[in-house]
């Protein structure tokens, strides 16, 4: 019996190969996309799962009452250690680190790399596989490092480099040889070594070099034992059977015993399982991306399945006789259902196999979209084969069930006469309508997301990002160091290609470290405002063309009236001056600080960070007082960028030979700021192309079938004098109504969904009619063009021929 089904199925597919091809192509498109998204989602689910005992590992997250006082993913330095020492029944192990970036060199090779200074427990706690070296002793000696195989290859061209040395620079520019005592196998994505830059396109600073926290002194970092150091990411491995919540009380107890009153009041520390942490961090960015892509993938698969259903049902006209005969000969309905299901299974199977073949070549595209390295198919566990088989079965069932029931329930006599009496044409039409709706929804979203992303880049940021580039410099945070850096700055400014140069700790990329509580002199300190505090020189404003009232020279003014400061308009208002200009000449101070700062400039508000946030109160401190800097910023002249860069490069290697000229244009830094939006735009672009392709495939199938069915009607109309164009209009009319209804459904949904999305942004476009009507028009034009092309042949056939067909 089954053999017979397969035979018939195969011959049917061969006979109607055009429709079979359309079906397979549609399913293929849907399945490839679903597969890619499936692999992406699986990859995201695997993050942290490969860590040893990951189900018992958590990160200590900080929640500060004063926003921005610290970062959420780090906590008080000694906390984790104390938990292990004081509560050995709860805590099995802990790991803490301080993440820095510095210059690593070996011979001619010289790069900036991310480095983790951390506890030695790193070697055993997470189960990272050590290819060479001793897990127990690798970091015991001072000036020893463990690196990944990847970095070993980068610097030495081989993996076994235990005993070799590399040179690491500290922030003062001093260099020191470190001995390599272990080599890790390359690390899969996890929240320990990829804590912050998992989603960043700039993965070069992902730490792959690890050394002991005993080296803090060499790097000039505060050690982990200070209860006032709350910038230490900390991980805890719980003992078996201990719940995360069991840690809450011990944490509170320790805070009460050791932390300062202020910190006790402001900070609450929550242990969070690593698996949850990854999904929930950055406002649930990963979770949102996983959900959004899954939904889009499901809808696209659904569209492909609908194509299948429509084409199968429409094709049934040619299957009528076969069904009739089989019924007459005693075939049962269940047998027909099996037969049609087998046919759909074969098609789904073919499409899936093609999709698997195509997978590897399409994978890099999606990797780029989601900004995550996607796992190879071969890295999947064997049981995934069953998942795939299950997928084929489910899709085959979904696609085949409706046609199977419709076709098998036809009456024997009617089918013998070849009468296709499908009562539910409206059902089929609504399926097509659904496809149009989904395509429109995705199209409109793509349109609006593009508008919003463009808005980010074209909106007046309040400063001029064009032709500004910046590069990190070695740090010598002393009076002498700052003076030296200023001299270097002045040297650069002599280059004819450079308009302006400045030194600062921050660049306007939203990546800020310091927030200080600031209040007016004379007002109570509990009225202080948490302000993002930048450390800049006086040339910063000109470099970025930030407009300030009153020009100023830090150095001169300092002597006259003590330290001076610049705040932005928002800060002035927040401090209580309704008219920001009234703040000029007034004095403010850091809560608990010694100095009174005179406000000597009001900077016009500008977007320091992402437009997802309101402009925040901002204070510009004099570099000479703060003594911290990281960047040299250059405003270069428009023109031949290549020669400009190479001239700066030349000068750089004369002035700062110890550090590579690793520069970023402000434009690129901004792109990094909006990575998730740009990714989302790419994803939606691709999804709209796919959905459009599937809709067009659906149109191809339905129009050619409709043409086939109406061939006699077309013949008669032509005999009676209809023109080719009139005939084409006939087919277009069929679809116009569907598109109109589909639009009526898609518009409110798109409006709602996009409005919700736009509400994430403080600075957003207001929705106009343009994306909606533009999308509908675009879809109509493409659809009509296709319908025209498809029906042209029928419309142009000699009527005698078409009449004979009957």
């Amino acid at each position: 019996m089954f053999q017979n089904y397969f035979k018939i199925a195969w011959r049917n597919l061969k006979k109607y190969r055009f429709y079979a091809a359309i079906n397979v192509l549609g399913l293929f498109t849907g399945i490839v996309f679903t597969l890619l998204i499936g692999v992406y989602v699986w990859g995201e689910l695997q993050v942290n799962r490969r860590l040893r005992n990951s189900e018992r590992q958590c990160i200590l997250l900080s929640d500060w009452k004063i926003p921005n006082k610290g970062v959420d993913f780090a906590t008080i330095g000694p906390l984790a250690k104390r938990l292990k020492e004081d509560y050995p029944t709860l805590v099995a192990n802990y790991y803490r680190f301080d993440g820095i970036s510095s210059i690593i060199s070996k011979g001619e090779k010289r790069f900036r790399e991310g480095i983790q200074l951390g506890d030695k427990s790193l070697l055993v706690m997470f189960g990272f596989k050590m290819l060479y070296g001793n897990k127990k002793t690798a970091l015991s000696n001072p000036y020893s490092v463990v690196i990944t195989a990847n970095k070993a290859l980068k610097y030495f061209g081989k993996k076994n480099v235990v005993g070799e040395t590399i040179t690491i620079q500290n922030f003062k520019g001093e260099e020191r040889a470190f001995i390599i005592s272990g080599v890790f196998e390359d690390l899969s994505v996890n929240s320990v070594t990829h804590l912050n830059n998992k989603n960043s396109p700039n993965t070069t600073l992902r730490p792959e070099i690890f050394t002991s926290q005993d080296m803090c002194a060499f790097f000039g970092r505060v050690d982990f034992d200070s209860w006032n150091n709350f910038y230490i990411p900390s991980y805890i491995e719980l003992k078996e059977g201990v719940a995360v919540d069991d840690l809450k009380e011990p944490i509170n107890n320790l805070m009460k015993l050791y932390a300062s009153k202020a910190i006790q009041k402001d900070l609450s520390v929550t242990p969070t399982l690593l698996a949850d942490f990854y999904f929930e961090k950055d406002n649930g960015l990963v979770k949102k991306m996983v959900y959004t892509l899954s939904t889009i993938g499901l809808f696209i698969l659904l569209m492909a399945i609908i194509n299948f259903i429509n084409i199968s049902v429409s094709m049934s006209g040619s299957r009528m006789k076969e069904i009739g005969v089989r019924k007459v000969l005693g075939g049962k309905q269940s047998q027909f259902i099996s037969q049609f299901l087998i046919e759909s299974f074969i098609l789904v199977l073919v499409a899936t196999i093609l999709a698997l073949v195509a997978f590897s070549s399409i994978k890099p595209v999606l990797s780029q979209i989601v900004g995550t390295e996607m796992p190879k198919l071969t890295t999947f566990p064997l049981y995934m084969i069953f998942v795939l088989v299950g997928f084929v079965c489910v899709v085959g069932l979904l696609a085949g069930l409706y046609p199977a029931f419709v076709l098998s329930s036809l009456k024997a006599v009617a089918s013998l006469k070849g009468k296709l009496e499908i009562k539910n044409v409206s059902f089929q039409k609504s399926l097509v309508g659904f496809q149009f709706s989904v395509a429109l929804l995705i199209l409109i979203s793509a349109f609006i997301i593009t508008q919003q992303v463009d808005y980010f880049f074209n909106k007046d940021l309040g400063y001029n990002k064009d032709y500004v580039l910046s590069a990190q410099v070695p740090r010598d945070w002393t009076d002498k160091g700052v003076k030296k850096m200023e001299t270097i700055r002045a040297e650069f400014e002599k280059l004819p290609e450079i308009n302006k140069a400045s030194v600062s700790f921050e660049i306007p990329n939203g990546n800020n470290g310091n927030f200080f509580p600031i209040h007016r002199v004379g007002s109570a300190s509990n009225e202080s405002i948490s302000m993002l505090s930048l450390s800049v020189d006086e040339h910063y404003f000109d470099t970025y063309q930030i407009h300030i009232e009153e020009s100023l020279h830090w150095a001169d003014e300092d002597k006259k009236e003590g330290p001076i400061i610049v705040v932005n308009e928002t800060a002035a208002r927040a401090l209580g001056w309704d008219n920001p200009m009234d703040a000029l000449g007034e004095k403010i101070k850091i809560k608990g600080g010694v100095f009174d700062y005179t406000i000597r400039g009001i900077a016009k508000d500008f977007h320091f960070g992402s437009m997802t946030q309101q402009i925040q109160p901002l204070a510009f401190f004099n570099l000479n007082i703060f003594l911290t800097y990281r960047y040299l910023n250059f405003k270069v002249k428009p023109g031949d960028m290549q020669s400009t860069i190479s001239n700066i490069q030349k000068k750089w290697s004369q002035l700062i030979p110890e550090s590579p000229f690793d520069y970023h244009f402000m434009d690129d830094s901004l792109k990094e700021l909006y990575t998730s939006e740009i990714k989302f735009r790419k994803a939606v672009y691709n999804a709209s192309l796919l959905s459009l392709a599937i809709v067009l495939l659906g149109i191809v199938g339905l129009v050619s079938l409709s043409a086939h069915k109406r061939i006699k009607e077309v013949g008669i109309r032509k005999v009676l004098g209809a023109s080719t164009f009139k005939i084409i209009l006939l087919f277009i009319k069929e679809f116009t109504i569907i598109i109109v209804i589909a639009s009526a459904i898609a518009i409110p949904i798109a409006y709602y969904v996009m409005n919700e999305w736009l509400n994430n942004y403080v600075y957003r476009i207001s929705m106009s009619a343009q994306p909606f009507f533009g999308s509908i028009l675009a879809l109509m034009i493409v659809a009509f063009l296709f319908i025209g092309l498809m029906s042209f042949k029928t419309a142009n056939t000699n009527p005698i021929k078409s009449l004979k067909t009957e």
């Binding site: 017979n4 011959r11 089989r326 019924k327 007459v328 000969l329 005693g330 049962k332 309905q333 009456k411």
Partner: protein, 225 residues
Amino acid sequence: MIKVTDLEKYYSTEEIKTIALNQFSFEVKQGEFIAVMGPSGCGKSTLLNIIGLLDDVDGGSFIFNGEDVTHYNERKRANLRKHNIGFVFQSFNLIDQLTVFENVELPLIYIGMKKADRKKRVHEVLEKMQIMHRRNHFPQQLSGGQQQRVAVARAVVNNPKLILADEPTGNLDSSNGNEVMELLTELNDQGATIIMVTHSEHDAKYSHRIVRMLDGQKVTEVSLV
């Protein structure tokens, strides 16, 4: 073998109700060869569909082999059909995607015969119908006469007690038509009961009895033996 009494069948659309069979009664004995004649639309094919258990009735009763099958459901009818009734159609109704052999084999698959037995039986019938040499061809590669012989072969392959033929020569030229009629006569001689709907007086002469119909009713019944 067959006894229908006061059969009624209507076809209704939203506006009109068409009477296809009106108080139709007749009886067929085992081994008889009956020709049913009448103008288009008189209800011949409807009668054949009902006797063939392809269609249900709106009134009257239908006894098949001593069993009242009037109210049988689709499953029971299909079961009765596949064991007892063979069909021959004017338009052959062969499945284009199956070869001659596979077309003839189909009824045997549905009654669950074993593969080896099926092969033997199909070959027997194809030999008898003289189309053995065409067994691996597809229907569209055969002439009309050959196609109808395949259809007859398929109708008799499971030794049905009753063969229903709906204008079996309607699409054939006279010589092919005669061949098919000879074949039916031969089957009848071997014991099969045959009911044939036809427009052809010539074909009707092969039968034992001619039933003439008009407007869903029996008009005359003439015995030729």
